[in-house]
Amino acid sequence: MKMNPSKGYRVFQVVNTIVMIFVVFVTLYPFIYLIAQSFSSEAAVSAGKVTFYPIGFTSATYKYILRNNDFFRYYGNTILYGLLGTLISVGGTAILAYPLSKNRLRLNKFFIPFCIFTMYFSGGMIPNYILIAKWLGLRDSMLAIILPGAISTFNLLLMKSFFAGLPEELEEAAAIDGMNAYGIFAKIILPLSKPIIATMSLFYLVGLWNEWFGPFLYFDTKDKWPVALYVRQLVEGANKVEFGASAEVSNVQSTIKSAAMVLTSLPIICVYPFVQKYFVQGMTMGAVKG
């Protein structure tokens, strides 16, 4: 920048641009292919003609999926679990992170390691399954997917370091005015914490939006499925056909699968560029903390 770049460096810049174009292309290509396939005719897909854009353009697959009321039900479930779960998760993380961020609380010497230990060792799949399905009896309940992951310790640490960075003076002034800990948290801390609350909400919401394994384990009633589990069933179903025999059957499904995958990811892809900075902020906050 300051000096004349050497010839080697200029060559490097050209090569670097080519490498970056390649990365951008490879990252986006599967999405392009999926979209192209979802708008193509079955015949074109099974002939392997579709690569970058739809061949034999048709929106029949979308019509087929959207005519199907089930799809809206699954989508509705995803939205319900996502919003409710995010509310519980952000609330739970905040009320834990706040006291943990206070150095003057002596019992934090116990509670902080108590939380952090769970990042390095966990109960494992089977004890969790037994706890949720058998002991708590949450089989087929949406609590089975909202509660177990409600507080992520990683998010907890991010929020704790955010709270620790807030100016102490405001809280002290409020305490002198006679405000108690609950008032201080609700009226002073939370309004100051909008950025971290936005970041946390997005982290939890994306996690819940994409969740399929919990519902897969615990939901017997198909009506309760989130859309991710429905897409999994479509994909697996087509997969089995591919193993079996008729290629044609699997391709009828291929376009439907693609359309379902596009519809599932659409909200994330559309919203993502605008909220990306909150995710990155969250990650870098964690890094500053060390």
Binding site: M1, K2, M3, S6, Y9, F12, T17, V19, M20, V24, L28, Y29, P30, F31, Y33, L34, V45, A47, G48, T51, T93, R104, L105, L107, F111, C115, F121, S122, G123, G124, I126, P127, N128, Y129, L131, K134, W135, L147, I151, F185, N210, W212, F213, L229, L234, V235, N239, F243, A247, S254, M261, T264, S265, Y272, Q276, F279, M283, T284, A287, V288
Partner: protein, 313 residues
Amino acid sequence: MVSKGKKSKNAGYISLGRHVRKEWKLYTFLIIPVAYYIIFKYIPMIGNVIAFRKYKGGSNILGEAFVGLRYFKQFLGDESFWNAFWNTLRLSISYVLVRFPITLIFALLINEIRKLKWKKIVQTVSYLPHFISLVVVCGMVKEVVSLNGPINTLLASLGFDKISFLSLPEWFDTIYIVSGVWQALGWGTILYLTAMTNINTVLYEAAAIDGAGRFKQTINVTIPGILPTIMTLLILDIGGIMTSGNMQKILLLYNPLTQSKADIIGTYVYRMGISGGNFSYATAVGLFEGVIGLILVTSANKLSKIFTDSALW
């Protein structure tokens, strides 16, 4: 009240009982979340005792009778366990070996982009796969490598035979690793890029005065500057080698034809325990994996402390 609160930072100034009584309102915040941690994180840990006890699926999560190491002996003598064990190691280690350097190089290359707008585009695009549901990622993988998908179309147009990637065990590693790099590459650079922006520009200027070009500056300034980050991420990766973080992905990608190469401990535990109902046996396998994971991350941390002075704790 407030000034007393500040003094209590000096441990022992007031008794613990008085401290709790004084701060009790703040401590009440902890009740629900700590109860959550006990129920959803610590009880499952205790639930691991069924690895040593016979559990038949009832509501007594601690099982019925003590059987000692029976289940451990059983799985250690089981060939399919060892198959899953070696698959776990092979897949995780080769994934880390490929992804780790590529991510680091990619971060260094992004750091060299001079046009800010273009840099922003590259970053935004490369982070995107991180947010896509695993179900969709695996569905995409299956579409892209399917017999009439674009890769086979390309192979055919170059005159090669089409390959049924998903049903050939020897292709599983490649599919797993390449799709993993696709998912994680961009997101993995964030911490490096943050660390790079924290490097003092004076160091670069000094290096430039000493006649170092951009390449030398990268080797002598950037890399040492981000070494703590590199080590932290390496510790996490090594610690994660045995844990089944990618169990869900394999569950979505594998099939009976590729199982010999694709089955990992996580999927083995799933099949034995949840599909098969051998809860105690599967718990024993899971516990074995968890303990090795804990040992791995602890030793990686210790080694890093000794050699580079940076550690997680």
